[in-house]
């Protein structure tokens, strides 16, 4: 059996490891245009100077050799489904028996004049940071377009180098895909206090300057002078390979519960996939590291014929800025998502805010948790997340969901009562333990 994986980030690496673990003899080919296996979410730490390049490598340098994988260091350009092969830019086509599309996503750049200019960067590739770092000696001011997670991480990273950073945001708040208005304001204020002002409700229309970036112009004609522009407005799936093929695509590549695409022997995992969202109850793109790793593993198992169903992804994020941690998951945002459609669907909320930076808010619909934001004290966030993912009716424990009132011990009888949903072996063991 010859397995071919396109992409060597979270989903591709996880799939390759799973395949190798289960089948020491399988022929596994990975097509990637990057030689190193590195963590994209860590790029902001590298930009900030908190990590070296070595620190980005979450697998050994000789990952491919160590696992006996064949690396095709090239860019996949097209699929030839009739011949079951992947065409690459420079070398001969790569034939497959089972194919995994783990092509990931790319930084979404706004439509502004000159957005392709040298000096405008995303924060997606090692080459982005390698392009930014040598310039910083000549950068006094920078503008970050967008205040999503990556935008804020970019801004915080540049600030570490003493750069004067301004964030230009089209929406009314920072982290609009992650936080409710009230918690978002805390982070906007925190960035302001740390020398990164945010300008909301502005639309960049042009990147100014000829050979060098000189500023960003907005729709209202205002100019923000700068020598560097970074973009953090989310990502779009890399769907080049599915173009002109019968592989069904909506926002991302559509897959069934086994992460198989609509074409035989072709699977997809990671940021390129539009898979079932367990909370929304519809397929959705959750371009997130944990989802990609899990999808890569499950796709690999199915490619080997094991028939393992994917239980669905959930939107979730965890981040810490200036020592303040925040975790949010599910439908905790009130603004429409980038894909349009439904969001902010809840019929009640419960919240507690003992101090400005200590905040818990849970969003419910029909007595099930559909989202939450936890800021400051985050230790019990995982319990909220599992309650949300299991779609259990929490009406009996509503008053115990916030802060330190929620702990696993308290939940055990509740989990026992809903044992048919908590199917993980470790959960079942706990149920048996307290049931004696």
């Amino acid at each position: 059996m010859r397995y071919v994986i396109v992409g060597a980030s979270a989903a591709g690496v996880s799939a390759a490891e799973t395949l190798r673990q289960r089948d020491p003899a399988a022929e596994i080919v990975v097509i990637s245009d990057e030689r190193l296996v590195y963590s994209r979410p860590l790029l902001s730490y590298y930009l900030a100077g908190h990590l070296s390049e070595e620190g980005l490598l979450y697998r050994p340098r000789d990952f491919f050799e160590r696992l006996g994988l064949t690396l095709v260091l090239d860019r996949a350009t097209a699929l030839d489904l009739a011949k079951s092969q992947v065409e690459v830019e420079h070398g001969p086509p790569v034939p497959y028996d089972k194919l995994l599309l783990a092509t990931g996503a790319s930084a979404r750049f706004p439509r502004a004049e000159g957005i392709k200019k040298d000096g405008v960067f995303g924060l997606r590739h090692l080459s982005d940071v390698e392009g930014i770092l040598p310039r910083l000696s000549e950068v006094k001011k920078a503008v970050v377009l967008g205040a999503g997670l990556v935008g804020l991480k970019a801004a915080a990273g540049l600030r570490e180098h003493g750069v004067e950073v301004t964030m230009l945001v089209s929406s009314r708040q920072v982290l609009s895909q992650m936080l409710d208005t009230s918690s978002a304001q805390v982070f906007q204020d925190l960035f302001e206090q740390n020398g990164v002002p945010t300008v909301t409700g502005v639309k960049p229309t042009a990147i100014l300057g000829k050979d060098r970036i000189e500023g960003v112009e907005t729709a209202s004609g205002e100019v923000f002078p700068c020598q560097l522009v970074m973009v953090g407005k989310g990502v779009d799936p890399n769907l080049e390979l599915t173009e002109g093929t019968p592989i069904k695509v909506e926002y991302g590549a559509l897959v069934d519960q086994y992460l198989a695409t609509s074409v035989e022997n072709v699977y997809a995992a990671g940021d390129v996939v539009q898979a079932m969202d367990a909370v929304r109850g519809e397929s959705w793109i959750n371009a997130l590291w944990p989802c990609a790793v899990e999808q890569g593993r499950i796709a690999a198992l199915n490619m080997m014929g094991e028939k393992v169903a994917y239980r669905g992804s959930t939107r979730m994020n965890s981040v810490q800025f200036f020592s303040l941690p925040v975790i949010s998951a599910g439908l905790a945002v009130l603004t429409p998502g980038p894909l349009g459609g439904r969001s902010g669907e809840h019929d009640s909320t419960i919240e507690d805010r003992p101090s400005p930076t200590l905040y818990w808010k849970v969003f419910l619909k029909d007595d099930t948790i559909v989202g939450f934001v936890v800021m400051g004290d985050i230790e019990r966030a995982g319990l909220l997340k599992i309650l949300m993912e299991k779609r259990v009716n929490v009406s009996q424990i509503r008053d115990d969901l916030l802060g330190r009132r929620l702990d696993l011990g308290f939940l055990l009888p509740f989990i026992a009562e809903n044992r048919e949903r908590f199917v993980e072996p470790e959960m079942q063991e706990l149920v048996e333990t307290v049931g004696v």
Binding site: P325, K385, L408, E424
Partner: protein, 177 residues
Amino acid sequence: MERLFCDPRKCVGCHACEIACAVEHSQSKQLWSVILNGETVRPRRAVQVVGREPFRAIQAGRAVSLGCHHCNPAPCVDACISGAMHKEKGETICTVSRCVGCWMCVMACPYGAITPLVTALKCDLCPDRAGREGRARYACVEACPTGALVVGTFEEFRQILAQPVESPFVQGAITPA
């Protein structure tokens, strides 16, 4: 794989396991030294009360000592963006030198078993006691005065659960708040 289990019938909620765990993960591994030097140490397991209103009827007044289940597959390992959290022969281990403190693992752990404190802290199965035998292999097990904490496979623990607890003294009897 060998794991740790707590029999809630025998747990009296004394927190000895927590203290032993915190001390085991201190610089000196001595309680008096931790106190005198003001060293900040945290236990990687927690004694919690099983149930509370509205669930008192089912399991009121029982304590249980909870920590990492070393699950497989482990959601915290999937979520780790730095390669710090990983599996080693079934054990879920965090290489703290690689941890950047993003708390993705805290978000992912369905048991709330990871403490965010500069780096992710969790049960590491006492690597410094690797050579020891029996109850002394793990600090929490060694410290448990009632034998509630045991080591083994779940199958072995299930056999313990099937046996009645003899002494009424060890029937956990703390009253939840």
